[in-house]
Point group: C2
Chain length 333, copies 2
């Protein structure tokens, strides 16, 4: 039997996640049964949505139960197989959890072509963040050539791709990020037309300058005061893709009021929430198009790969909320 | 020359409107010029949107200027005419303002058939409130048979029609109103399936009981804490028609936080603001259908007609915000 390091959810966090919320255990894992294979997990996708999965209450999927392995998308290689369609050595991705090994019957597991992209990229720009950016912007945001597309958390896994797709579609892409270094990255390396540093303290004024024709499509990842400010810049019949509200995920105090909600009414805005799983049947189309743009040099993808293994999970997750990452966060196992 | 009593906006209100915000003047009105006619205004439509028209800042139309006649939809009869298409005695409606007389060249003026409905009804259920309910619910809310449709301010001009159209379309119609008498009216006279009294103090619990299958379409007229509570009841892929935010129109303090905005994301809701003028080209279709439902007894329309003339305008307007009206408010001149 193989020893399997796992992160089990021990308690529901209040505010930021800490190591105290997890129990790290070495559990022996059985041999894969008939029709099963065993995956050695090598790269775990670190996503803001994980914070929501730890919380109780109504959401789009049930919360992770106390004592259960923390839910996570991940990639690795098949190391043992009694499954006719998965061979030892195959690269695969799936919801493998924050652990070293898992036995699977193949349901919801995708094979990855490592000649096209690394394991990390397959769970990053060509995985959920890429799908989220693609369907959120194109299906919900409906950008038209010449539109101004504003993206919060623009240097993040999803935001960085949203702005680049906006450019491909002939739009003006404006980002919001924290600090001059991230803003420089967003403009100079990703090719956004402008990026506003929300930490500089003049968000409304700076956004007005960066969006002289107002905002037609807002791709929202942050919420809170940043969202409230953005609302005041929306053009008539603008579209808001509500993808994330990261400012609220660790909140322990009441947020401020959304005083600018009235612009949804007076500007006749359409705001729509998006969960990427709803677009699952069209993933192949998105992967093909994102892959092509990437091969043509029109789409830059970047992973921020962290070492430390299973035990580093809480600290690496918190980088998302402190803004300590730059690009899609991946934890190497 | 005819003496014309007018309500001029003197100052921009802070909180509730008072008589101090208006100057009531008797201005002589000239004879109508070539191609013009003169209307004697007899009924003025009193609408929540008026409060917004008095405020400065970006909105869907410019604010009423200081010293200008207060903007209002109204109806009356032609009393003098030099216009080939409008004769003395014609009943007409238009944006005539809070005043007794106006000269018009006919632009944006509709002729009314008094054999079908009274002047008051033509600016009520068959006017803007009817159009707002019709297009907001059907074009934006997209109700399907069997859906639960929740309507705030359900006894009001728009809400009362929304719920009745929902019933015609085979939906469960649930209202929210203030006090047992309004709730009784909404259920027993308008035919909603249920109505929750938000003043009873158990809004979330009472709404859960009234909407056992959750809410598919929310027609929102109120905003604030009521809206925040409703958000927690929305079903996956629900639609929110943002028609009004009356709780905020006279606010002098910060509202509370919209803590349930996350449900827009997790439930993949679509929220869209609506201004009735955007549907102007389809008004005739709506008037025909509303008129037919009314004639068939499927749609009850009720006006709350107040006396007092031009000088009563501020007090009658405030009935909307105190909940003192029951049905569409009309001021008789």
């Amino acid at each position: 039997m193989t020893s399997n390091r796992q992160a089990l959810l021990k308690s529901r966090p209040f505010g930021l996640v800490t190591s105290e919320n997890f129990e790290f255990v070495d559990t022996p894992i059985a041999e894969p049964g008939e029709g099963e294979f065993q995956v050695k997990v090598e790269a775990i996708s670190i996503d803001p949505a994980m914070r929501g999965w730890m919380a109780e209450g109504k959401s789009y999927i049930p919360p992770v139960g106390l004592g259960e392995v923390m839910r996570a998308g991940a990639a690795g290689h098949v190391v043992k197989s009694n499954h006719p369609k998965f061979e030892v050595g195959d690269a695969v991705s799936g919801m493998f959890g924050v652990q070293q090994f898992i036995n699977s019957n193949g349901a919801m597991v995708a094979k990855l072509d490592e000649s096209q992209a690394s394991l990390e990229r397959w769970i990053a720009g060509l995985g959920m963040p890429g799908m989220t950016a693609y369907f959120g912007l194109l299906n919900v945001g409906e950008p038209k050539e010449g539109d101004t597309v504003l993206v919060s958390a623009a240097s993040g896994a999803v935001g960085s791709i949203v702005g680049q797709i906006a450019k491909i579609k002939g739009c003006r892409a404006v980002g919001i990020a924290g600090g001059p270094e991230k803003c420089r990255y967003v403009v100079e390396e990703l090719g956004f037309d402008a990026c506003v540093d929300y930490k500089a303290g003049n968000l409304y004024k700076d956004l007005r300058e960066a969006c002289p024709k107002g905002v037609d499509v807002l791709f929202e990842n942050v919420g809170g005061e940043i969202f409230n400010t953005e609302l005041a810049l929306m053009n008539v019949f603008g579209r808001i893709v509500l993808c994330g509200l990261i400012s609220a995920y660790n909140a322990t105090e009441m947020p401020k009021a959304l005083t600018n909600l009235r612009f949804v009414l007076t500007q006749r805005l359409k705001m729509q929430g998006i969960i990427v799983f709803d677009f699952a049947k069209d993933y192949p189309k998105a992967i093909e198009e994102l892959g092509r743009w990437h091969a043509e040099g029109k789409l830059k993808l970047r992973e921020d790969i962290r070492e430390g293994g299973i035990d580093a999970y809480p600290d690496v997750l918190n980088l998302l909320f402190s803004g300590g990452n730059n690009g899609k966060l991946v934890l190497k196992v």
